[in-house]
């Protein structure tokens, strides 16, 4: 899953990136409003974490412009202001949630999960497919009480398919969400990873091919 972190404080930006990466997210970072707009317009994210006081273009404006452009990515606003007006303004402008600094990291992670869940077809963190249980919060796959070992990349692919259950997830979307800006994945790379994933799940039928377009899980 891919998240964009927009925060002008370098230490905080890097720390959030590290935290999110440890928790299995693919993270890109922007340090000002202009960068944020560029990133969010030309790349696809599952969520955007957006600070309000930003250089060049402030967070409210960034959010407004993104919504005007029709980009519906869930936005979690980070704010150091906790007045009611600030909260209302953020939500009115199109943010999906806000978090007041200083916040608990657990809460941040839970809110990001909730935001992504809200945007997806799946409404729970724990999903069952066949004899497999996937816990998106703990990032675990369990069969018969036994944990299956899986790389973050494969988990990311599985997660994308589960969050869009019943819908086709395209090659491009998978490439975008599960590979970083410096990787150069091709359709072949995706296919190879799907093959690996099926092997780990020991079930070929869970992930279905939609030929030429991508994959889906029913």
């Amino acid at each position: 899953m891919k998240v964009l972190v927009v925060e002008d404080n370098e230490e905080l930006n890097n720390t959030l990136k590290e935290i999110l990466e440890i928790n299995g997210y693919n993270v890109e970072t922007a340090f000002d409003g202009e960068e944020a707009l560029d990133f969010a317009t030309y790349s696809e994210y599952d969520a955007i974490i957006l600070d309000i006081m930003l250089p060049k273009i402030d967070g409210y404006k960034v959010c407004q412009i993104l919504r005007q452009k029709g980009i519906k990515t869930p936005i979690l606003m980070l704010t150091a202001k906790d007045t009611l007006q600030d909260k209302v303004k953020g939500l009115d402008i199109g943010a999906d949630d806000y978090l007041v600094k200083p916040f608990e990291i657990e809460e941040l992670l839970a809110r990001i999960r909730a935001l992504i869940r809200r945007a997806s077809t799946e409404k729970s963190d724990v999903i069952k497919i066949g004899d497999i249980t996937v816990d998106l919060a703990k990032r675990e796959i369990v069969r018969d009480g036994k944990k299956l070992m899986i790389t973050p990349k494969l988990f990311c692919i599985l997660e994308q398919l589960l969050l869009n259950r019943g819908k086709v997830v395209t090659y491009e979307s998978l490439m975008n969400k599960c590979w970083g800006i410096n990787d150069y994945p091709t359709k072949e790379t995706v296919r190879a990873n799907i093959k690996l994933l099926r092997k780990i799940l020991e079930n070929k039928d869970i992930i279905q091919n939609v030929s030429g377009v991508g994959y889906k899980i029913e």
Binding site: D8, N9, E10, E11, L12, N14, T15, L16, E18, I19, I22, F31, D32, M53, L54, P55, K56, A80, K81, T83, V100, K101, P102, F103, E104, I105
Partner: protein
């Protein structure tokens, strides 16, 4: 909520102003009324007194008959009575007097004011009374009372409106200070919240990573602690401006000392410094405040300067100018740069607290120095005049 408070304060001020002015106005018109009334009655009595004495003088003469009184000029509504020693009325004009007892001087009898005087004639004591009915006069005064009352009322209303308008200008500087304070508090809390988040999230990571590979996280926390230290000490400095003992400070020397302190940074960026001295600049001030003022200006001139840039300092008596070849400040931001926590292009580093120039302004204001910032096509120019 807060706006409501200001409106309340305004209404209170309006109420107090109009109450006080109404009281003063009422007292004033009240005294006008009583003074005028007293004066009028006094005037009338004086008139009556002089008539009484005139009559007395004339009729004292044994050959003069009382009837000459008939031809004397008397004011309207007035009357004259003369009693013989047996207390019989021997003469009256206008109206028969009802005198309960004989007296000399003024008496107010009912609605009349009467002046009595006695004189000797044919070995007996005669009494003359000259009186005047006050009804007309009182009616006149009553009219004055009404006019004064309505005038007071009308003026009070006008004052009420004016007071409400004036109260705005009384409240607005307070409101300004309040809003500034509120903005400041918000800025402080903003600038403390972010570093707090940095620390808490790095601590979270350190635990999560089980204390492995945490050098970067420790570094982040250290940097943030440094920033917070600077921020807090700068904030404290604000409240201490002007507290220290004031001496005559030679700014030529002080500026050179400050430049010496920054030598490593100046060499690092290879900045050329040029000082022109046209006389000695001196001021009565706490040395530490001046160090802070010029230190901050020089530090900024270095910090925001480019590699191989220049700083040109001009010193004249009562005028100092510091020009630098740093990134030119945008014209529209010239006023804002002295605001607390203002940073033009918010730098990504946490170097400095963002309070430097507002400290400069605060110190300059305290010592009644004028700080100006200007930009031409090559330099940012900070000038201080006093």
């Amino acid at each position: 909520m807060k706006l409501d408070q200001f409106l309340k304060a305004r209404l209170k001020i309006t109420f107090v102003i109009s109450l006080i002015s109404t009281l003063i106005l009422s007292a004033f018109s009240g005294s006008i009324y009583f003074f005028y009334k007293k004066q009028l009655i006094l005037e009338i009595s004086d008139q009556l007194k002089s008539i009484a004495f005139e009559i007395a003088k004339k009729v004292e003469n044994p050959v003069v008959d009382f009837s000459i009184v008939k031809n004397m000029k008397t004011p309207p509504d007035s009357y004259v009575c003369i009693f013989n020693p047996q207390a019989d009325v021997v003469f009256y004009r206008g109206k028969l007097c009802q005198i309960p007892y004989h007296f000399s001087g003024f008496r107010i009898l009912g609605t009349d004011v009467v002046y009595g005087v006695s004189f000797k004639k044919e070995a007996g004591e005669y009494h003359i009374y000259v009186g005047k009915n006050l009804k007309n006069v009182l009616r006149h005064i009553e009219k004055l009372k009404f006019i004064l009352f309505y005038l007071t009322f009308a003026i009070s209303l006008i004052i009420l409106v004016i007071a409400f308008i004036i109260s705005k200008s009384i409240i607005s500087p307070i409101k300004e200070v309040f809003e500034k304070q509120e903005r400041f508090t918000q800025n402080v809390s903003h600038d403390l919240r972010t570093p707090l988040t940095v620390m808490s999230s790095n601590l979270y990571l350190i635990e999560q990573k089980k204390y492995q590979n945490i050098e970067k996280n420790i570094e982040n926390i250290k940097k943030t602690v440094e920033y917070m230290k600077k921020l807090v000490s700068d904030l404290l400095f604000f409240s201490q401006i002007g507290d220290r003992e004031k001496t005559r400070v030679n700014l030529n020397n002080l500026i050179k000392e400050q430049i010496n302190l920054f030598t490593p940074k100046i060499q690092e960026k290879n900045i050329k410094i040029e000082i022109t001295e046209n006389g000695t600049a001196e001021i009565e001030a706490a040395e530490r405040d001046m160090e802070m003022l010029f230190g901050n200006l020089i530090e900024n001139a270095i910090k925001y300067n480019k590699e191989n840039g220049e700083i040109i300092i001009k010193i004249k008596p009562k005028y100092i100018e510091i020009k630098n070849t740093g990134k030119l400040i945008k014209k529209e931001n010239l006023k804002k740069i002295f605001e607390r926590f203002y940073r033009e292009e918010k730098s990504r580093t946490t170097e400095g607290s963002g309070l430097g120039l507002s400290i400069v302004k605060e110190i300059a204001d305290y010592y009644k120095m004028k700080v100006k910032v200007d930009v031409n096509d090559k330099y940012n120019i900070f000038s201080i005049r006093w």
